[in-house]
C-alpha cells in the first residue's frame, strides 16, 4: 500500500477549483486512490462530493492511499498537486 501525507496548499482549501483539479487528476490515475483526513473514513479521491465533504482547508493534513501498479507514481503526482496553492496559480483578474 502506497501512502502519502500532504498538507493542503490552496488558499481556499480543497474546495471549488482546487477540488475539481484534484478529483479530475485522481480520476485519471491508473489505480483507485483514496483520501482521508485524520482518523476519519477514507473516501474515493475520484468522487467530487466525497472530497468536498472532507472540508479540508489550507494547512489541513490529508492522507492519500493507493494499491497496485503505478500507485507510487500516481500518489507522487497527486501529492504534489495538493501541496501547491492552486488558487494563487489562477490568472489574475485583469
Amino acid at each position: 500500500m502506497a501512502t502519502r501525507t500532504v498538507t493542503v496548499g490552496s488558499a481556499s482549501g480543497l474546495h471549488a477549483r482546487p477540488a475539481a483539479l484534484f478529483v479530475a487528476a485522481a480520476g485519471a490515475a491508473p489505480v483507485p486512490v483514496t483520501i482521508r483526513t485524520g482518523e476519519k473514513r477514507a473516501v474515493p479521491a475520484n468522487s467530487m462530493l466525497s472530497v468536498l465533504s472532507l472540508g479540508a482547508k489550507q494547512g489541513t493534513e490529508v492522507v492519500l492511499e493507493a494499491d497496485g501498479e503505478g500507485a507510487e507514481a500516481a500518489l507522487d503526482g497527486l501529492a504534489e498537486l495538493l501541496a501547491r496553492d492552486l488558487d494563487a496559480e489562477e490568472p489574475a483578474d485583469a
Binding site: 488558499a11 481556499s12 482549501g13 474546495h15 471549488a16 477549483r17 477540488a19 475539481a20 478529483v23 479530475a24 474515493p44 475520484n46 468522487s47 467530487m48 462530493l49 466525497s50 468536498l52 465533504s53 472540508g55 488558487d87 494563487a88 489562477e90 490568472p91 489574475a92 483578474d93 485583469a94
Partner: protein, 550 residues
Amino acid sequence: MPDSAEPAPLHGIGVSPGVAGGPVLRVAGVPALPAPAPVTDPAAEAGRAVAALREVVAELHRRAGRSGEKTLVDVLRAQAMMAEDPLLLEAVREKVLAGSDGPHAIDAAFATHRAAFEAAGGYLAERVADLDDLRDRAVAVCLGRPMPGVPSPGHRYVLTAWDLAPADTVDLDPEQVVALVTESGGPTSHTAILARALGLPAVVACPGARDLADGTTVLVDGATGLVRVDVDPVEVTAAETADREHRTAVAAISGPGRTSDGRPVALLANIGSARDLAAADGAEGVGLFRTELLFLDRSREPELAEQAEAYREVFAALAGRRVVIRTLDAGADKPLPFLHQADEPNPALGVRGLRLVRQRPELLRTQLAAIARAAEQTGAEVWVMAPMVATRAEAAEFADAVHAAGLPKAGVMVEVPAAALRAGQLLEVVDFLSIGTNDLSQYTFAADRQSGLLAELLDPWQPALLRLIAEVGTAGRAAGKPVGVCGEAAADPLLAPVLVGLGMTSLSMSGRALGPVRAALAARSSADCARLARLALDADDAQRARKAVA
C-alpha cells in the same frame, strides 16, 4: 392602435429601453416529485436515471462552452463533476435495483450528500443550493420534462419569470431572448442590471407576467413598462423596426452632452476594469472606475505594483479625459477574504467603504500610492473619490490623504442621507461629489437593495430621493464645484433631464445608456430641465413623478 380583440396590456417598471416582441416562454419551474411508481424493469429504469444525470452533465458543459467568463466556467465544470460523481451514480443504480423508481432514486442519492454538506456548515452548506439544482434538473429529465431554468427553444422569444437569479443569466442566450418581463424585481434587481448590460428591453415588477401562457405573442416596451398581449406578429415586426430606426437616429447624435440651449452635462461611463473600456467609447470620460474587481477572490491584498499596473491600463486608454476612480468599496456587505472581518448583524450598516480605514489604514495608503504612481505615467485627468462617507470630518481626512499622495482632485460619494443633507459642508473640504443613487435609495428608505418586495421603495423616481439629490445640486451650484450621479438612475433617459434640472453637472452610466441619455438632454433646454425637476419633486409618489415628466 390595438384592435378590440387585444386583451388589456400589462404594466410594470421599464428598466431597460427598447421595443421587442415575440412568443412568451416562462422560466421552467422545479418539477414536483410524483408519488412513487412501481418499476417493472429495474435495469432499464436504472439506465434511464443514470442517463438523466449524464444529460445534466452534458447541459452543464454546453453552458460552460457558451460562457466566456473563466470563473463561471470553473463553477459549471465543478458542478458537472458533482453530477457525474461515481458514488452518486452507483447509489442511484443501487436504489433503483432495490425497487425505487428513477426520480425517487435520484432524490434519495442526492439527499445523502445534501445532509453531509449541510452538517459541515460554512462553504459546503452554501453549496447545498447547487446540489438541489442538479437534483431538480436530473429529476426533470427523468420525468421527461424541461430542465428548470431559462429555456433554449432555438428561436426568438420573450422570457418571463418571477425574477431572474444570477445563475439564470448563464443560461440566457441573447440570440434567442429578445426581451425580459418579470413579475417581481426592481430597477436595481439582477434582471434590470443584466438587461441593460445585454441591451435587452426589460420590464420588471409587472403583475400578471407569470400568468401569460407559453406561446402568447407580446410586445414589450422597456422604456414605458408597457407589455401588450396577443399582438399580431406583423405589428411586432413593425414596432421593432421603428424602434431600431429611432435608436439609429439617437446614435447619430454624438459629441459632448449638452442641453438644447448648450448647457454642458458631462456624460461619463461606469467601468470595473480596462475590459469595459470598449463600451465606454462614446463617453467623455469615466465617472466611476470601480476597483473591487482587483481585490475579489484574493487571499492577500494585491501589491502596490500590481494595483498600479491595473490602474495604469485604464488611465492610459483615457489620456486627456477625466477618470474618477473610487477607492476600495468592500466591507461586511461585500466581504473580502484578506480583510478577515467579523460577521456583522447589519452588514449594509457596518464597516464598509471608507470606514475600513478605521481598521486598516494601510489599505487606503497603498491604494492611493498605486493610483498616484499610475496617474504619473499617463495623460489622464485622475480624480479620486471615497465610498460610504457620512461626515465632513471623514471627507476632510480622505481629501488630505489624497492630496498627500500627490493627487490633485479628491471627492466623495453621496450614498448616505447624512452626506446629502450636509453636501455644502462636504464641498468645503472636497473638490466634487458623486451620488450613488442605489445606495442612497437603500439608506433613505431603509429598504434592502436585494429585496424584490421593496422594489417600489427603491424606485429612483421617489420624490424623497430626488429631494436629497436636489440638496446636493444646490450645494454644488453654490460652491461652483461639480456634482454628478453615477448610479443606475443616471441611465434613465426620462430621468436625466430631471437630474440636470436638480443641478447635476455630470451623469455616469453603463456605456450602452449614453446614446439615449445624450439624445434626451439634447431635446431639452435648461429651463425645461428645471421645470421637469420641479414637477417630479412635487409629485405625490414615484409613479406620478414619472407620469408628470413623461
